[in-house]
Symmetry: C2
Subunit: 209 residues, 2 copies
Amino acid sequence: MEAPVPRRTRIQQEKRELILEAALDVFAANGFRGSTIDQIAEAAGMSKPNLLYYFRRKEDIHETLMQRLLDTWLAPLRELDDVGDPITELKSYVRRKLEMARDFPRQSRLFANEILQGAPRIMPMLEGELKSLVDEKAAIITGWMHAGKIAGTDPYHLIFAIWATTQHYADFDVQVRAVLGPDRGGDGRFEDAARFLEQLIVNGLTPAR
Amino acid sequence: MEAPVPRRTRIQQEKRELILEAALDVFAANGFRGSTIDQIAEAAGMSKPNLLYYFRRKEDIHETLMQRLLDTWLAPLRELDDVGDPITELKSYVRRKLEMARDFPRQSRLFANEILQGAPRIMPMLEGELKSLVDEKAAIITGWMHAGKIAGTDPYHLIFAIWATTQHYADFDVQVRAVLGPDRGGDGRFEDAARFLEQLIVNGLTPAR
DNA sequence: CTAACGTTTGTCCAATCGGTCAAAAATTGC
DNA sequence: GCAATTTTTGACCGATTGGACAAACGTTAG
């Protein structure tokens, strides 16, 4: 029996990666329907028929991209576990998510685009893989609440809030920068965000008692 | 001198509204490039040339929609003012934003789409109108902090966090529903979210002392 | 009734799109 | 070196797109 995934020569591997890299750029900036094969081909430095030699349809590129995305995208949540102090654990999760928004903004936008359009291509993954993972982690968080280690609240909405606040810095980057202005919108904005979110999650806004 | 905006008959007013309503549906669901004039025309119950009689270009529809959007979209923040208890004031703001996400999800998605694509059509508004408003409100919040009425933190990132967490329930609705499942993903999710966000903002996750 | 004006539509067009195909070019195995 | 195979490309195709246009239709005022 041969390998189930038919990837042939080393050159094919490399060209496919090149195309996926270019497509990530284009799809993240323009959405699926807003992107053309020509754009991706040009960004990858090859002709359109050449690109179609490696991926037979535009959708195949997107699909490959989305499959990889989910894996890496959920990695930070997978790391959340029961050992260590709960508050520390949650702060680490926020930090990891914020780092992903900073270091992989294109992936974040690709994902946001897909969800915004109603998740037509990844709905099964959301209801399957994603839901299972969140259920599992929500159970851990609920455990912490029952043990009195964190305040009792809704673990699902807590996870949503962490997703929303962190991904915001990738998906709404242009707005964040426009509002902060040239001086505060520079590289420091992620550290400011990290400080703010940490404090919000730990203590909220009530002044120290 | 006549009215500067050349809107003629009552029928023209009505048809333009009809088209804008249909276009909001289509643009919010498919993005600008993903939407076709035919789709909008069909949703508005008229032929394509008929639609183009009222709006000469596809972009004109989108532009009109975006101009109106900013006004209504920022209304909740405009209401934030200095009278009353700061914590109560911020909770009200969160509630108003969450109600907008619940009642006007299409507007939220339209806005999200535009920002995701780099805000090509509304960048001036972000750097002008929006930034001014946020600067003004951030100053109020800073005043509260200096008065010791709320914890000292970054007012800009606080506003970002409120935007992100509330709009998440409109923009990422399908994901929220998929994760919550059929039982918890129903109509109650906005009330659950409201309760959660209120608590998060007031007290964070530190258990009661 | 009819002329003027506002509204609606069928038809058409050029540009762009995703994708095909056959042939050329480059690479590889022997 | 040469044949087989893989890679690349120019030319092409049908479908869809945004938009133009003139003719038809409807309405209203005289």
